[in-house]
Amino acid sequence: MTSNSLALPAPRSRALLKHPIIARYAPIATMVAALVAIWYIAAVAMNWSLVRDGFEREETTYATTDVLLGTMEAERPLLPAPHQVLEAFYDGVFGYPPLAPRSLVYHALVTLSATLLGFFLGALFGVVLALLIVHSRVLKRGLLPWIICSQMVPVLALAPIFIVVLGALGLHGLLPKSIISAYLCFFPVAIGMVKGFTSPEPLQLELMRTWSATPRQVLWKLRWPASVPYLFTSLKVAVSISLVGAIVAELPTGAEAGIGARLLSGSYYGQTIQLWAALVAAAVLASALIGVIGLIERAVARRMGAR
């Protein structure tokens, strides 16, 4: 009896570990904690000499703990500590009215508008390309090499050319950025949708043939629904790439607004904390975009009978 009552606590704590919420989030939380710890250590190591030199330049006496504390709150650290970045991010998001030029929300919105337009254009272009490729063998041979080549040129090199050419055509602001973003993000959509449009089984295609369906009916009733899983997978890749495209497009234009502009001015003036806060904003934005597509995907999949 006693042994039995003694043995009780152990299974209970194991049961706690098996609790769905803990089972789901414990690995992520552990990972984040480990990364934050490494980040702090790196911040101390990288800022150490910077802070120590500061003390020596001012010829004050200092203890090791002073340096240690100094690495946590340097004004322009080599690597800002996580809490500094979070503070700057929080301040950037909530410290100003959303449309103030110093607000991260404002800059994120500027980049978001270019991202969304570019994503829309790029996804549309990618689907159209995939349609052309699936329906014509000549186009498949003619187009595919160019599509692949297009992605070999670094976009950072192309972006200024785009900006200059489009600027000469009288296009400024949102559209050139979106076009650069579209240029990057059509690729995964085109490749994914070629795969998706050709994914119906031979039997399904032959059934359509026995019913003498028109090519258009085969497209809308068979190829299109069969490619939906491929569409969402490639859209998730495309949306994050299109954000990168929009940010990159802001760099050579010397844009005064947008996450790219924040990154650029941060690096000009050695505002590393601002730089990192802008990076966090970009990451949050990308996760949110992917999350939205994931939600739409789930809703569509449920309607299409996913188990």
């Binding site: 019913w211 369906a213 069969a226």
Partner: protein, 298 residues
């Protein structure tokens, strides 16, 4: 389960006394259910059909000089070992493959015209349902393509789902059904636009014995009630003898017809007939034909 639906007229001609032709009388088709003097139209008329294709290992004669006449209302089974061209023959009739030579007419048209006229329903070995469509929507697929009205589609879904005993499953998705049920859906789908000719390529091949027996009985009922012409590919001798009015025995390398056996058991036969001596006699003849045509030295 397999009870006939109210719309079904039970055909009453007594046919048991019709003597089975013992010889290889291909052309005479003792169709037990149609009226004795009705003019029989040829549904399939294939003359000297050959089909060869080149593979990496050389030329393959999938079909060699195949002659076949099928009249209205017949149930014709193709039986033979793999590679004998039975599926190929069905595909040629369906215009899914083109013969290298020979003349073929399907319901008085070329195979292509017949396909474009939606003259037949095809059932594959796999159900080939569209996983993103409910059962109801799967049945509607050919109807949508052929432009039936919404009302007509709904009526046909009800009619054909009840014909295969699947009423109540309209809103289910294919993965929620067993393999046998899925295959019944695919049969209902092939029937949904009411073709007079049904081409079935080993529809029950992937199912277990019990389900297969059950579906055999259902298919017999269906054929009896709708009087469609059925071309049926199978591996199973009992299945072929049980269902058919005519059994076409085929042999590989080159794919050819080596025997055509007439077979006319009473239309209201049940599975028990498989134990009867006259049934076993026909089965024996099919077996002999298969053995003769099969070279075991590979």
């Amino acid at each position: 389960m397999a009870s006939p639906k109210p719309s079904i007229s039970i055909v009453s001609e007594a046919t048991a006394e019709t003597d089975r032709g013992e010889g290889a009388s291909h052309v005479r088709s003792p169709d037990p259910i149609s009226a004795p003097k009705a003019p029989k139209r040829l549904v399939v008329d294939a003359r000297n059909i050959s089909l060869t294709f080149e593979t990496a290992d050389g030329r393959v004669d999938a079909l060699s000089n195949v002659n076949l006449q099928v009249t209205e209302g017949e149930f014709v089974s193709f039986i033979g070992p793999s590679g004998c061209g039975k599926t190929t023959m069905l595909r040629v009739i369906a215009d899914l493959q083109q013969p290298s030579s020979g003349a073929l007419s399907v319901k008085g048209m070329s195979a292509e015209q017949a396909r474009l006229a939606r003259a037949y329903g095809y059932v594959f070995q796999a159900p080939a349902l569209f996983p993103w469509r409910t059962i109801e929507k799967n049945l509607k697929m050919p109807l949508e393509i052929m432009g039936y009205s919404e009302f007509e589609q709904q009526q046909r879904v009800q009619r054909y789902l009840s014909m295969v005993n699947l009423t109540g499953f309209e809103r289910k998705f294919p993965w929620q059904l067993s393999g046998g049920m899925q295959q019944r859906v695919s049969i209902a789908r092939a029937l949904s636009f009411d073709p007079d000719l049904l081409l079935m390529d080993e529809p029950f091949g992937a199912l277990d014995e019990i389900v297969r027996d059950h579906l055999n009985e259902q298919l017999l009922q269906l054929w009896k009630s709708t009087r469609k012409t059925v071309l049926f590919v199978t591996h199973s001798i009992p299945e072929a003898v049980f269902l058919s009015t005519k059994i076409v025995v085929m042999s590989p390398r080159p794919g050819r017809i080596i025997d055509v056996i007439d077979c006319d058991f009473p239309p209201d036969r049940s599975l028990e007939i498989r134990e009867r001596p006259e049934f076993l006699k026909v089965a024996q003849r099919v077996r002999i034909g298969l053995r003769a045509g099969h070279s075991y030295d590979e």
